[in-house]
């Protein structure tokens, strides 16, 4: 775990880290010139076939070629993807948080707060001087301004009495502000620690997996070289498996570099032979993931059919009154439920002839891309309408409480509506909308949606997903993360604890996003949006559960208007209904960069 303190981060020379990364890149380019020379000057030059023709000569040329290949692979996999990219990503991440710190620490100091506690969880408290100033009825000017009282001039006059009567409010305001700075500081350090840990993991994993070299020429060469060639092929599969397992330590950007470094044949082989290592991996391009996931989806449905048939047969031999029968029946029903859910997802995104279906929407119609699915917990479904790798605007919708695979059809309808609205609002841009049910959502409002653990459980996956979109997409793509209800809490936790690659955050009907200030979210406050209609009971959520209401003035960011539906109905999920065209128009504008 990272031991970085805020002082370390403040004083870190990010430029030096970046220079080191750039130096490695330069070094790689220099080394590639050597392998190029080996091929042109040696293999095709003075050891070329016009000078030497024999089995031994061919063997020597092959051996040198393999050594050059291996060297290039290592340069790509280790020097470039592992070392240089890790350093450059770390430099970017540290610098981003350092800039936040440069803004935040002076604010903390100006307001006479102290940073206290361990580096893992800093506190921002009122200093002794600030306590004294309030207690002696001499609060600082900024605090008087915030509370709307006039600063006493030292005499016991009406202003002094007002301060006396407002002292609880003064304290509360000062503590509230310190709390916001604390949230901000903790978020900055959490993201910095996350970047530090991720960089360390990427480098450590390199150390643990030294690459093999081609065999030496000699008597055993013929015996060893075939094994070596097979080993090189298996190495790609091993890397793919480690990446899919999450044990490679590679970031989505590094995964993307690794993928792009594979030959077309290697990529095709992985998709065909191990689609389960391709489909779920953030950083692999959308087209490849979609193809792989659809293959796995077919396979999983077939496997469930086989299991269901076997379980049904086994059930026939059991006494219907026995516990064993009941247990087996329950398990069978579970399998059938999973099968129905997966088949429902498949039907939704696939034509009868097996080709990807186009979503119904305005021209140009966009195909569905399957970026992930699963039957664990209440199920997973990550489906994009339109290709996020090529889109100008990508909006990812994170659903809230009770979201599950069985209800993925409704989630997709909502995403299709958002996609349609975006396309109608901005016809000259290409847009993609993603339904991201990539986490285990709470099943109940009480008690599950009151707990943070579902959001914490989703944070890293959402971080990786957004980083994957950045890695595979265009550099200038406008990324929006839109949460509904508990989905906003998921986004908030991911943004403050891990960091998300997003240009805009939109919180619809939020119970709180795990922080009291937009500043802690790691996204420009001007691009943080929140909406809640006046009849949405979510406003009854107390702040101590998930933090302050993001539509509140004190939170920062922007609030936008949503209309209500029927006055006598729960309006928590009416944000896409005919009663809230205002909200839909605004969301479309945000998602297409028009706000």
């Amino acid at each position: 775990m990272s031991e970085m303190t805020w002082e370390h981060l403040r004083d870190l020379d990010c430029g030096a880290v970046r220079t080191l990364g750039d130096t490695w890149k330069t070094y790689i380019d220099q080394q590639l010139a050597h392998t190029e020379r080996l091929r042109t000057d040696v293999i095709e030059g003075h050891l070329g076939t016009e000078h030497y023709e024999s089995d031994t000569a061919t063997q020597v040329r092959d051996q040198i070629g393999m050594t050059a290949d291996r060297y290039e692979d290592d340069l790509s996999d280790y020097a470039s993807t592992r070392i240089a990219t890790t350093l450059l990503e770390a430099a970017d991440a540290f610098e981003k948080e350092q800039n936040e710190l440069k803004e935040l620490v002076p604010l903390i100091e100006q307001h006479d707060f102290d940073i206290e506690g361990p580096h893992s969880e800093y506190d921002v408290n009122l200093s002794g001087g600030l306590h004294r100033a309030i207690l002696t009825l001499n609060p600082p000017q900024w605090l008087c301004d915030m509370c709307g009282v006039k600063k006493p001039d030292g005499f016991w006059d009406i202003d002094t009495l007002k301060v006396l009567f407002d002292s609880v409010d003064l304290y509360g305001t000062a503590i509230g502000l310190a709390g916001q700075y604390q949230d901000w500081l903790r978020a900055v350090m959490s993201r910095a620690h996350d970047a530090d840990d991720e960089a360390a993991a990427a480098l450590a994993e390199m150390h643990e997996n030294p690459a093999e070299l081609p065999p030496h020429l000699g008597a055993t060469y013929d015996d060893l070289v075939d094994d070596y060639k097979e080993g090189v092929t298996e190495e790609v599969a091993d890397e793919a498996e480690a990446i899919a397992d999450g044990t490679s330590g590679l970031s989505p950007e590094q995964v993307n570099q690794w993928w792009e470094g594979l030959s077309e044949t290697e990529r095709r082989a992985l998709i065909d032979e191990h689609p389960e290592w391709v489909g779920p991996v953030d950083g692999i391009p959308t087209e490849a993931r979609d193809t792989a996931n659809r293959t796995v989806l077919d396979r999983d449905i077939d496997a469930l059919d086989t299991r269901i048939a076997a379980e049904e047969q086994a059930l026939q031999g059991l006494d219907p009154e026995s516990d064993e029968y009941q247990n087996a029946k329950e398990a069978l029903d579970g399998l059938k439920g999973d099968r129905n859910d997966l088949a429902g997802l498949q039907d939704r995104i696939t034509n009868d002839d097996g080709t990807p279906r186009l979503a119904e929407g305005p021209e140009p119609q966009q195909p569905y891309y399957l970026l992930g699915f699963g039957t664990q917990d209440n199920g997973r479904a990550i489906v994009s309408i339109g290709n996020p790798d090529t889109a100008d605007n990508v909006n990812t919708l994170v659903p809230g409480t009770t979201a599950n695979l069985s209800g993925a059809g409704g989630l997709l309808h909502r995403a299709e509506t958002m996609q349609s609205d975006a396309q109608l609002s901005s016809p000259h841009t290409s847009n993609a909308t993603i339904a991201w049910l990539g986490y285990d959502a709470p099943d109940t409002i009480v008690p599950e949606a009151m707990q943070e653990r579902w959001a914490d459980g989703a944070s890293e996956d959402l971080e990786n997903f957004t980083e994957g979109l950045s890695a595979t997409g265009r550099e200038d793509t406008n990324h929006t993360l839109t949460g509904h209800s508990y989905g906003t809490t998921v986004i908030g936790h991911a943004a403050t604890k891990e960091g998300v690659d997003a240009d805009n955050l939109v919180f619809v009907a939020s119970p709180g996003v795990g922080t009291d200030t937009a500043s802690a979210l790691g996204v420009d406050e001007d691009n943080v949006w929140a909406t809640r209609n006046s009849l949405d009971p979510i406003h009854l959520t107390p702040d101590f559960l998930h933090g302050a209401d993001p539509t509140g003035d004190d939170f920062g960011g922007n609030a936008y208007h949503s209309d209500t539906g029927a006055w006598n109905a729960n309006n928590h999920s009416t944000y896409w209904d005919d009663t809230n065209m205002a909200g839909r128009e605004t969301l479309a504008d945000i998602a297409t960069g028009q706000r």
Partner: protein, 190 residues
Amino acid sequence: MDNPPEPQYTQAEAYAPMEAAAADAVAVLPDFPGFKERIWGELPATHNGIDVQGFTIVEITYVFSLPDSGTPLVRETYLDVLREHWTALGYRITRDAVKEKPDRVDRSLVAIRPDGIALWYWAAGYTVLRVQSGPVTASDHDAIEYLPPTGGVRPGGRYDKVGKYFPEGIPADPDVVDPFDSPDSYEDSL
């Protein structure tokens, strides 16, 4: 499961009055250039803040072509005409907004009928007429009857986007084919 109040229509029943509402709107628009496309879509219906299965919201969208979407006739005159028309019919206007953008002015008009069907005329990048049902009981796709589009969209053509409800193809009915409409392709006719 706690269900929403019993809706006035089932999903299958909702399409006819919704399409009729669209046709009624088209009928009052002068010099109507025709819509480019029709889309049948859905949204999840919710109750007590949570999506409920077995219910849905139908949304029908008629889209003008991009050139037509940008004309003052479509963006401004039609909005004025529809405001007057819907008001005269006793519909409740719930939104009448203008939004200035750097390169255009968006307009939005929403009217709710007494039966709960909502009409939304939105002049944005495209200009669209949308009709929304409110929550209705979901129907099997088999129970949904094909209704020809209004406003010049060719029934069963490329831009009649209702295909997911009729996977076997749009039911053939020569009466609903507009003989003056151009086919999407002349490939088989040449």
